[in-house]
């Protein structure tokens, strides 16, 4: 990949929350890059730090109770060190965000048109009439069939799918380079979900923006993503192009997740269950393989002392070495002789 394609580079990011005067890292040493015209999916279960990662990028966390260390490089500037004012000039213009719950993300007392216009007023020097035209154009672009009427309506008058379209219209109003979509379809029905995902892809093809898609739904990832990063307990444990990850998952956590999905295409009677629970933020093991406690039948020698990401094939990174010796508990031990390598 050419470096010019790179939109965003996250280097060794730590985001910690303060609990009784101690900071606990919810995002622990995460490095990622986002390229132009790419959908990067970040997957993980609740509490793995995926939303914290997104809000750190766009600077929406409460600065009094969080600590952000590391670099979030956008156009050679570090977003992590920016002041609120500097961030305001970037948010909405260069980086914008799509939220999960479209009703609570919209102001219930403002007309749809005015809400879309807001970021145009802030970031552009269009005249009032030009802005109005742009609002109609945007509503059309996100597939709303009668934009003039919708622009005059209030959020409660629209259905969930329409509201999410409005949110997307707001997000793309200033043609941002980067769109962060945090569970954009979780609150929607499947048929609406399919429409919204198709819309996101179409818009991306038009604008060439880079999209960070945060989701827990592996089906959504398989439908739209180009590259996938799987997070567990604040760390990225596997990163690969989408085909590679789904056809050739390596890390025990990724493989366990795939096995616990009730799929349409297969008839299995029992689903795989991951033993134990996700450790809470305060009780995270900060050294060694964080997944080791949940695959206790894998001998300790299989894990690295300080697990790092290893490139197993071009673009495919896996943390720790335990994947080489991993087998599901129901299977017989495939590799009895474990060498610490």
């Amino acid at each position: 990949m050419k470096t010019t394609d790179e939109l965003l580079r996250i280097k060794n990011l730590h985001t910690g929350f303060r609990i009784k005067d101690t900071y606990f890292d919810a995002v622990d040493n995460v490095s990622l890059t986002l390229r132009k015209n790419e959908i990067l999916a970040i997957v993980g279960e609740s509490g793995c730090g995926k939303s914290t990662l997104a809000t750190s990028i766009i600077g929406l966390l409460d600065r009094n109770n969080t600590r952000i260390e590391g670099e979030i490089l956008y156009k050679d500037t570090n977003l992590a060190n920016m002041t609120e004012d500097e961030l305001n000039n970037i948010r909405g213009l260069d980086i914008s965000m799509i939220f999960q719950d479209p009703l609570s993300a919209l102001n219930p007392l403002m007309r749809i048109g005015d809400q879309i216009e807001e970021s145009l007023v802030y970031h552009t020097e269009l005249s009032k009439n030009e802005r109005k035209e742009r609002v109609i154009e945007l509503l059309q672009q996100v597939g709303i069939s009668n934009p003039k009427r919708v622009a005059k309506q209030f959020p409660h008058q629209l259905s969930g799918g329409m509201r999410q379209r409005v949110i997307i219209a707001i997000a793309i109003s200033c043609k941002p380079q980067i769109i962060i979509a945090d569970e954009p379809t979780t609150a929607l029905d499947v048929t609406i979900q399919a429409q919204i995902l198709d819309l996101l892809i179409d818009l991306q093809n038009e604008t060439g923006a880079g999209i960070i898609l945060i989701t827990h739904d592996l089906g959504v990832v398989a439908e739209v993503a180009d590259r996938v990063a799987v997070m567990y307990a604040g760390e990225i444990i596997e990163e690969a192009p989408v085909d590679e990850l789904f056809n050739n998952p390596k890390h025990p956590y990724t493989r366990s997740l795939f096995n616990s999905i009730p799929q349409l295409s297969q008839d299995s009677t029992r689903l795989n269950v991951i033993e134990g629970i996700v450790p809470s933020l305060m009780n995270l093991p900060r050294s060694g393989c964080r997944f080791s406690s949940r695959i206790s039948w894998i001998p300790e020698e299989a894990h690295e002392d300080n697990p790092t990401l290893h490139e197993v094939s071009p673009g495919h990174f896996v943390r720790c070495t335990c994947w080489k010796h991993f087998h599901f508990k129901s299977e017989l031990g495939g590799n009895q002789h474990v060498h610490a390598d």
Binding site: A194, G219, A222, E223, S265, S268, V273
Partner: protein, 314 residues
């Protein structure tokens, strides 16, 4: 067949006008019929607002029935649903979507579990304690959890306590309204496996209400697809997934993301194809008021809502 629902209707009045009179009705559930066999699982699938939860609630008696009958073991129980003395009330139990808000936060687990026992089974305090321990063992929770409060448990554990409460009276039918949609994948798998286990052990019947077709396919033998308060298609799981007849079913199936990136371009084309079909044939598939047609027999188990005029299925 131990239980039967016959032409169930739930209409909500819409009030308005000067005297706040009833001006219209919302047809939340508009004439559905179901039959339940022992030990089987029945799925009720549909988009939000289609009336699937209302169906579940009206069967258990949390919702008034406008018309229709519920026949339980040969007896009409439509008006006895809230009667504590009736066996129906004991034998039909429910698991809720949000296990957290369905439990009293000020009660300990032992009191939560004791409530159905005290209501329906006349047990001495010793027997009651024994039964609570049994229930906790059934759902695989340690015995000391009975002195804890609901907030001390994780989401999956709370859902299991919800199941334990539903199991307390040895029910025949459990209505599960989106039991796993608030849970993470790995926890969801745990709860689903576990629900299957107790079904096999106790011969339970499930009515599984969900919007997630993957989960329903995994759990159920028989699926009904609901739209605007009526069934558009009902049949064995295999029939629904392999030979969907109604355009609405096809649209729903095509919208589900597959957990594999292979061939996603084709799936997208297929999806758009079905969607245009759906828009075009909307008039043919539903009557002039947008109401779903009556069910027509396709095979012994497979029924589809089809226009009496158009016999040709696309």
């Amino acid at each position: 067949m131990f239980m039967q629902i016959d032409n169930l209707k739930v209409h909500y009045p819409v009030r308005g006008g000067f005297f706040n009179t009833v001006v219209d009705h919302i047809h939340a559930v508009d004439g559905i019929s179901m039959e339940f066999d022992k030990g089987n699982s029945y799925g009720l699938v549909g988009e939000s607002g289609c009336g699937k939860s209302t169906t579940g609630k009206s069967i258990i008696g949390l919702e008034k029935i406008t018309s229709g009958k519920i026949i339980y073991e040969g007896e009409d129980v439509t008006n006895k649903r809230r009667d504590r003395k009736s066996a129906y009330n004991r034998d039909i139990q429910m698991i809720f979507q949000d296990s957290h808000s369905s439990m009293n936060p000020r009660k300990r687990v032992q009191d939560i579990l004791a409530e159905p026992i005290r209501n329906f089974l006349n047990l001495s305090p010793q027997e009651e304690r024994k039964r609570i321990n049994e229930l906790l063992a059934i759902v695989g929770m340690p015995e000391d959890s009975k002195v804890k409060y609901p907030h001390e448990f994780s989401g999956g554990q709370k859902q299991r306590l919800g199941i334990a409460r539903a199991m307390a009276t040895n029910p025949k039918l459990i209505i599960a309204d989106e039991p796993v949609s608030a849970l993470d994948l790995s926890v969801q798998a745990q709860v689903l496996n576990f629900m299957k286990d107790i079904q096999n052990e106790y011969g339970l019947t499930y009515l599984f209400i969900s919007h997630d077709l993957g989960v329903v396919k995994h759990m159920c033998d028989h699926i009904s697809i609901m739209y605007k308060g009526r069934f558009v298609e009902t049949g064995e799981t295999k029939e629904i997934f392999e030979q969907p007849k109604h355009i609405y079913t096809k649209r729903l199936l095509s919208a589900i993301p597959d957990v594999s990136p292979n061939g996603r371009e084709e799936r997208k084309r297929e999806r758009i194809n079905v969607e245009t079909h759906y828009q075009k044939e909307h008039k043919l598939s539903f009557d002039e008021n947008g109401r779903v047609f009556d069910l027509v027999k396709v095979s012994n188990t497979h029924f589809v809502a089809e226009s009496p005029k158009v016999k040709e299925v696309i």
